[in-house]
């Protein structure tokens, strides 16, 4: 083929695309092209070399390109979604600018239908993968939706501005860039338009270093900035950029879904509070009655001692009347005073599908609450640490029953073991008594037993008492949990099954084979026979223990679902995934209602929901602990790098009751306590309402004050926090109404304490029903890991 033919072909192509500037420029070039002497050899060579390119060009020119753009864009999106987890966030940044250009190309080609389809698909994809549109994205989409024809495109100032604007910068790490280039080049001719778009409109900036480093930080900073200057697009639906499309305002935003975060009606805490109120009212009544009786007696001129002391003496009519009146007033005052404090936050009806708690559990719960220690930042809890010795890096997970007397642990040798602590402690004590030396070794926190190899206290072959093995899994067990009545044990394993064990029988009761890939986490419902599991198949499942098929599949995460936790009201389920997002799902409908991702460094490895159901805390594999307000889907706090764990955070939990403390434990062998000021402030608000809000006489309020302080366990702190609670705590109270108190990032969750263990990563943490912090971890004989030793984000 000759050059002239080439030129002709190219000119044709250019003319067809309507690129007049190029055409004229090229025409000039064609004219000035010197005619080379014909050389058959050269021609044939050239022809051979260029053959494929010509073909591509030909197909490109020949086709009506509408389909190509949509297809290639789709393939790009799919490819990004399936790329390595590590590089996916970077590559995802590419999708939006490419989409915008592709859409404009389609409009340019008058393929309106295809463009609309692309737009719709893109929108749905963004919604599912990102939980909503950011303001900039929403704005872009809005503009794009307005451009439906070439004329509109030409006339649109936005498009013109876009055309003249510099190329969109996208930061990639070297390997991600490599991957992208390989994908675009290996795709053959079909990928050419996409390649052209990327080359012409996107400025790929390749930065050295791991993606989690500077790039992630930059991305997070960017996100934060974006969040700071307006956050999610639809919070204030684009008042400045014309009328918002109706769908953008309603269906678009996952996080604007109405969600009921209140606790269940008739939960144990409320029951207890009611009981207390009743008792207090009675006490107040009797007290006031007694007082009035004494008063009356005194007024009647009788010796006050006698009447007040035993009341045997029939009071006079007047005194009786006075006493009755006073008692009634006191009761009313007490009721009025305590009610607002009692129902802190809303309560939702007990859903019919959920079982009620058995009476004995309620009774036990009430007892526990009565005996519960009040913990707060000012009054930190105690922590019992359970060291697993000789675990040899096989301990994967651990769970406690409500008082810590039983421990369930999962191991990589596919066994689940149940430890009965009283028996074990008695055994150890016995060993110590008979063999004082090995007792010393045993008391060394396992150090000696670990060192000594065979010299430990278990060198006899018999299994120490108090341990029962639950065997049935065929691969490593990754999660265990105990049911609310402590009689059932759930475990999830790499073999893709969830098993239910009877703790009393020591045998497997049921197998739930639903997951295709390893099950990473299981969680029992706080009220009954429901449970949830999540796994490497990117799906979280909701089960009821009497069926072997899942009830709901919670689909949407872009990577493994590592964590699943129940909301205290049991109608919501939180999941954390390696795609660095945390989502909240409605159990009934199985759809995502909250999407939390802002500024999470690394993927979540631990998660906890506050007992009042308003906050969600997540710890990442880079040691960060972040807390969101579920109502507003805003991040309340994130630990600064200085205060963060040095390794992955393995466990998180809130204290019982008000959740005034958050405990975190990680691979850096520390347990840290964080104060939850908002909960305290909210508690203070409750008390404040009790104290000042009630239209009661000051005397009655004063009478009820100490009681209420004891009931909520807050005391002086609550009273003090009252003032600011009015202002700040209101947000937390408002369940997503107001912007909430965002007083300085990291402020609300300050560090209270940091406690190092002895070479034991903290695998599990749990506040017992009486607010004793239970922690467990295996003893590893090595130094604490450093940040450099932490694995890169998976």
């Amino acid at each position: 083929m000759r050059d002239a033919d080439w030129d002709q072909l190219f000119l044709q192509f250019v003319r067809k695309r309507g690129l007049r500037d190029v055409e004229t420029a090229f025409a000039r070039y064609v004219r000035t092209q010197p005619q080379e002497p014909e050389d058959s050899m050269a021609v044939s060579q050239q022809a051979e070399v260029q053959q494929s390119l010509i073909e591509e060009l030909a197909t490109f020119a020949a086709e009506n390109d509408a389909g190509v753009y949509t297809d290639t864009y789709e393939s790009l999106a799919t490819w990004v979604d399936n790329s390595l987890d590590m590089y996916r966030p970077e590559l995802r940044k590419l999708l939006h600018p490419v989409f915008v250009r592709c859409y404009l190309q389609l409009v340019e080609q008058d393929a309106t239908a295809a463009a609309a389809a692309l737009l719709a698909r893109y929108r749905s994809r963004v919604l599912s993968s990102q939980g909503g549109l950011r303001r900039s994205t929403a704005g872009d989409l809005q503009q794009l939706a307005a451009i439906t024809s070439r004329q509109l495109l030409r006339s649109s100032p936005w498009a013109a501005q876009l055309a003249t604007s510099p190329r969109t910068p996208v930061v990639l790490s070297p390997y991600a860039h490599d991957l992208l280039m390989r994908f675009l080049h290996n795709g053959g001719g079909r990928m050419l338009p996409l390649l052209a778009v990327v080359n012409s409109h996107i400025d790929l900036q390749v930065l050295e270093g791991l993606p989690k480093g500077a790039v992630a930080a930059a991305a997070a900073a960017e996100e934060e900035a974006e969040e700071a200057d307006g956050g999610w697009g639809a919070d204030e639906p684009m008042a400045d950029s014309g009328p918002a499309p109706p769908d953008a305002a309603t269906a678009v935003l996952v996080n604007r879904t109405e969600v009921k975060l209140g606790l269940l009606q008739g939960n144990i805490e409320d029951l207890y509070r009611e009981q207390q109120e009743k008792q207090r009212a009675e006490a107040a009544t009797t007290a006031v009655a007694g007082g009035a009786a004494g008063e009356g007696a005194g007024a009647a001129g009788q010796p006050p001692g006698g009447a007040a002391a035993d009341g045997q003496e029939p009071p006079t009519k007047k005194a009786k009347k006075a006493a009755e009146k006073a008692a009634a007033a006191a009761a009313a005052a007490a009721a009025a005073a305590t009610r607002p404090g009692a129902v802190r936050g809303e309560r939702i009806e007990h859903p019919p599908f959920l079982p009620r708690l058995p009476d004995e559990l309620v009774a036990a719960g009430l007892r526990d609450i009565a005996a519960r220690a009040a913990v707060s930042a000012a009054c930190p809890p105690s922590c019992a640490f359970f060291t697993f010795v000789n675990a040899k890096q096989t301990l994967t997970c651990c769970a406690f029953n409500r008082d810590g007397s039983r421990i369930v642990a999962g191991f990589t040798d596919s066994s689940v073991r149940l430890y009965d602590m009283p028996t074990i402690s008695a055994h150890h004590a016995q060993l110590r008594r008979f063999r004082p030396r090995s007792g010393v070794a045993a008391a060394n926190g396992g150090a000696a037993t670990q060192d000594g190899g065979g010299g430990g206290d278990d060198d006899d072959e018999t299994e120490p008492p108090g341990t029962s093995h639950l065997c049935g899994h065929t691969a490593a067990v990754h999660a265990v949990d105990m049911s609310v009545d402590q009689r059932l044990v759930l475990s999830g394993s790499s073999d893709g099954t969830v098993r239910l064990w009877g703790a009393e029988f020591g045998s497997c009761l049921a197998v739930y084979p639903g997951h295709m890939f390893p099950v990473w986490d299981v969680a029992c419902c706080p009220v009954g026979h429901w449970f949830a599991s999540s796994g490497a198949d990117r799906v979280a499942r909701l089960w009821v223990s009497e069926r072997t098929a899942p009830l709901r599949l919670l689909v949407g995460h872009g990577a493994d679902v590592d964590l699943v936790r129940w909301h205290p009201n049991c109608s919501l389920l939180a999941t954390g995934s390696a795609d660095r997002t945390v989502r909240l799902w409605d159990v009934r409908e199985g759809k995502c209602v909250r999407y939390l991702s802002g500024g999470l460094y690394g993927s979540p490895t631990a998660m906890a929901l506050s007992p009042d159901g308003l906050h969600l805390a997540a710890g990442t594999d880079e040691g960060q602990v972040a807390v969101w307000d579920l109502g507003t889907a805003r991040r309340l706090a994130a630990s600064p790098p200085a205060a963060s764990h040095a390794g992955p955070v393995w466990s998180l939990c809130y204290s019982q009751g008000d959740g005034t403390l958050l405990a975190s434990g990680g691979a850096d062998e520390t347990v840290r306590l964080w104060r939850n000021d908002l909960a305290e402030a909210a508690a203070g608000l409750g008390d404040g309402g009790a104290g000042g809000g009630g239209p009661s006489s000051p005397a009655a309020a004063a009478a009820s004050k100490p009681g209420s302080g004891a009931a909520t366990g807050e005391g002086a702190a609550g009273g003090k926090g009252q003032g600011e609670a009015q202002g700040q705590g209101q947000g937390g109270e408002g369940a997503g109404k107001g912007p909430g108190g965002r007083g300085g990032s990291g402020g609300p969750y300050g560090v209270v304490g940091r406690y190092r263990t002895k070479s034991s990563p903290v695998v599990a943490l749990q506040f017992s029903a009486r607010n004793l912090l239970l922690a467990a971890g295996p003893f590893h004989r090595r130094g604490p890991i450093t940040t450099a030793g932490a694995p890169p984000a998976g």
Partner: protein, 755 residues
């Protein structure tokens, strides 16, 4: 860009028998291989994370491959050795792991690995009310920078912590919150007055079967007993200053003196100068004892200041360091001893916890092989004072630590009996044993005396090794002193109790002491006379150092002051050549004069003899030959004494008492310890003495039986309360030679005691 090189792809292809792989294919495959690898690693990391590990293992890789439906790699599980990569030949950047060929038999016949220990759970308190207890189960808390810097602040912080602990329920923090058992926790918290918390903890513990998190009642309780809390010693600024001062002043102690003395010595090479050289030894001794006013003040402070208790660990360490570092510097050692002495005398200092640290340096000072800059220097004094100090410590702390004295004496005795130890050590051991008390000497030293002296004899008798002989003499002197003192004590005690008839000495000594006096029988008399004839010819004129006698010293000084030229000349000539016949004659003369009590020259002669003896020169003794030779006749004499038993008993009475004074004069005259002289002197009264001896040994009981026993057997029994004192004295005299007698209570003293 990619980590996987095309060459590696080719190599892999070869390994799976794809021989022909074009370069382009390899290039195209390399990135894909890398991508797959990354995928596998990514999944493996997920597994590691969900196993709560921060380390990737081969098992994770296998799991990840299984997840992707790839056959896992076999043979890497449980293989803890890191893979060794080998560079492929011919390729610059291709590496592989060399697989060793493992014979199947080796695997099948290999012994089964040891069963792993059971995984079990150990509970403990990580923190209590937010305060981490310092138990051994918890990691050590990194301390803030040295608290000594700001003692006030530290104290305040401690107080605050204690207060916080008290607030935190039951003073949990203040009591350093051991992982208390449930009961303890209950009590503590109940005491803390936080009703709710207490109830919570208590009921919690109850709910956990009294054992759950609370480490199982009894078990944890027993743990708590063992837990030793780290002691934090805060030393105030002032105390630190004081310590520095003490160290500095005591350290530079002998500085100026040493510098002065060092000029003549080894050129002042060492800081402590040279206190060596036989000539300079007295000077050295002098400067050792000299204390500057500051040092005196310091020592007085250490003796009186109650605050020394705080410094005790540091002072103890100072003493140890001084002794270990200053073995060649006598002043330092002396100073160390003084420090210990001062501390010991301080009534408010509790030395007990540091005894184990103080004892070794003291024993070193006592028994070290070589102390001081040279063997010739006067380290004897140091040993003596160290021995005294050890004895003081033993007596002071013998009550709480009953084994202390036993241990120390055992160690001393072992050193004494160890023939491989130098004589200096033996001297220290003897001194130490002597200092430990007469009972110890009787119990431990006397039974060993005879064999030991037998061993010592060659050294004593040696002619050439001047130093060794000198040392041996020293040891001998120490033994003599020890044995004498022990017996003196015993005898005086017995006399005071009236248990011992006073005439025993008058009677017993002549019989037992010198063979010449046992000469009521003619043959032995002849033989001993013969020996005495030989005596002047005996080469050895060296005598053990006499006991210090201040009176004689004073006389001698007078003599020197008066400048009795002839006397000094004689003295010097004797000193110059003690073995020459002239000197011997002079000595004889002196002795004779000394024995004549009536003459005025008597005291002078005595003093001169004493001074000579101090320098190791004396009238010729026969200890080298006498004891073995004298043994058989003595036995005979004893037998003879026993025969006359009855007669003597009849006429014991007043006669014995009357004779005492005469005999006493004789022994007093022999005070310089010259055996031969005494023999002569005693010979006059020998007759009556000999007759009286019968009653002595008879009243001692045992009579013939006691006499027939060997000295060794007698000495072995000598520690007994009912041991025959007369026999023991005899045996000791036998073993140690007549010089021993000088150590016994002299008869004039006894009647006084008796009265």
């Amino acid at each position: 860009m990619s980590f996987i090189q095309p060459a590696a792809v080719k190599a892999i292809a070869l390994s799976v028998d794809v021989t022909h792989l074009t370069e382009e294919a390899a290039k195209a495959l390399a990135p894909d291989v890398e991508y797959r690898l990354r995928e596998v690693i990514q999944d493996a990391l997920k597994f590691a994370r969900h196993c709560k590990r921060t380390k990737l293992t081969t098992q994770d890789i296998n799991n990840a491959m299984r997840l992707r439906n790839i056959e896992p790699l076999y043979g890497f599980l449980g293989n803890n050795d890191p893979a060794k990569f080998v560079r492929a030949t011919g390729h610059s950047d291709v590496y592989f792991v060399r697989d060793a060929m493992v014979p199947l038999e080796q695997i099948t016949y290999a012994p089964l690995p040891k069963a792993p220990n059971h995984t079990t759970v150990m509970p403990h308190w990580l923190f209590i009310d937010g305060v981490q207890p310092q138990t051994e189960e918890n990691a050590a808390v990194e301390r803030p920078p040295p608290p000594a810097k700001r003692p006030r602040l530290a104290a305040a912080a401690a107080a605050a912590a204690a207060a916080a602990g008290a607030r935190g329920g039951g003073g949990a923090a203040g009591q350093a919150v051991q992982p208390a058992g449930a009961g303890q926790a209950q009590q503590q918290e109940a005491a803390g007055g936080r009703g709710r918390r207490a109830a919570a903890a208590a009921t919690e513990a109850g709910a956990a079967g009294g054992a759950g998190p609370d480490a199982g009642g009894g078990g944890a309780g027993s743990v708590s007993e063992r837990v030793q809390l780290p002691v934090q010693h805060i030393l105030s600024d002032e105390m630190q200053r004081l310590l520095e001062q003490i160290k500095q002043i005591l350290g530079t102690a002998a500085g100026p003196v040493a510098a002065a003395a060092g000029g003549g010595g080894e050129g002042g090479g060492a800081l402590w100068g040279s206190m060596d050289d036989g000539s300079g030894s007295s000077a050295a001794a002098a400067c050792v004892l000299v204390l500057s006013p500051m040092q005196r003040a310091i020592l007085v402070t250490m003796q009186t200041d109650p605050g020394m208790q705080q410094l005790l660990p540091y002072l103890t360490k100072y003493v140890c360091d001084e002794v270990t570092g200053g073995l060649r510097h006598l002043p330092r050692l002396h100073m160390a001893l003084r420090v210990v002495q001062a501390l010991l005398l301080n009534p408010s200092v509790q030395l007990e916890p540091y005894l184990h640290q103080i004892m070794p340096p003291l024993l070193t000072c006592c028994m070290a092989k070589a102390l001081g800059p040279s063997p010739a220097c006067d380290h004897w004094k140091l040993r003596d004072s160290a021995a005294t100090l050890v004895a003081q410590l033993c007596s002071r702390f013998g009550e709480p630590f009953y084994s202390l004295k036993v241990k120390v004496s055992k160690q001393l005795l072992r050193a004494l009996l160890d023939g491989s130890k130098p004589l200096t050590s033996h001297y220290g051991a003897v001194a130490g044993l002597a200092a430990l008390g007469h009972a110890t000497v009787r119990l431990l030293l006397l039974p060993q005396l005879e064999p030991y002296l037998a061993k010592l004899q060659p050294a004593l008798a040696a002619r050439k090794e001047g130093l060794r002989q000198y040392e041996a003499t020293k040891v001998y002197g120490a033994l003599l002193a020890a044995a004498g003192a022990a017996m003196y004590d015993r005898l005086v005690g017995a006399a005071a109790d009236g248990l011992l008839p006073a005439h025993l000495f008058r009677a017993g000594r002549p019989r037992l002491s010198v063979p010449a006096l046992a000469g009521s029988t003619s043959p032995t008399r002849a033989s001993t006379q013969q020996q005495q004839q030989q005596q002047p010819v005996a080469p050895s004129t060296s005598v053990p150092p006499p006991p210090p006698n201040p009176e004689l010293d004073r006389v001698w000084e007078e003599v020197q002051r008066q400048g009795a030229g002839a006397l000094m000349q004689v003295f010097n000539s004797i000193l110059a050549d003690p073995v020459s016949p002239a000197s011997l004659k002079h000595l004889e003369n002196l002795r004779a004069r000394a024995e004549e009590v009536s003459q005025p020259i008597h005291r002078t002669a005595l003093a001169m003899l004493h001074q000579l003896a101090k320098r190791g020169v004396g009238p010729p003794t026969k200890e080298a030959t006498a004891p073995p030779a004298a043994a058989p006749p003595l036995a005979a004499a004893a037998a003879a004494g026993a025969k006359t038993n009855g007669v003597a008993a009849a006429r014991g009475g007043d006669g014995g008492g009357a004779k005492v004074s005469a005999n006493g004069k004789a022994t007093a005259a022999a005070g310089a310890g010259s055996a031969a002289g005494k023999a002569d002197a005693g010979s006059s009264s020998g007759g009556s003495g000999g007759s009286g001896s019968g009653s002595g040994s008879g009243s001692g009981g045992g009579g013939g039986g006691g006499g027939s026993r060997s000295a060794r057997a007698v000495l072995a029994e000598s520690w007994r309360e009912d041991a025959d004192l007369g026999e023991v004295v005899w045996a000791l005299t036998e073993v140690l030679g007549p010089a021993f007698l000088a150590w016994l209570p002299q008869p004039p003293a006894l009647p006084a005691a008796n009265i």
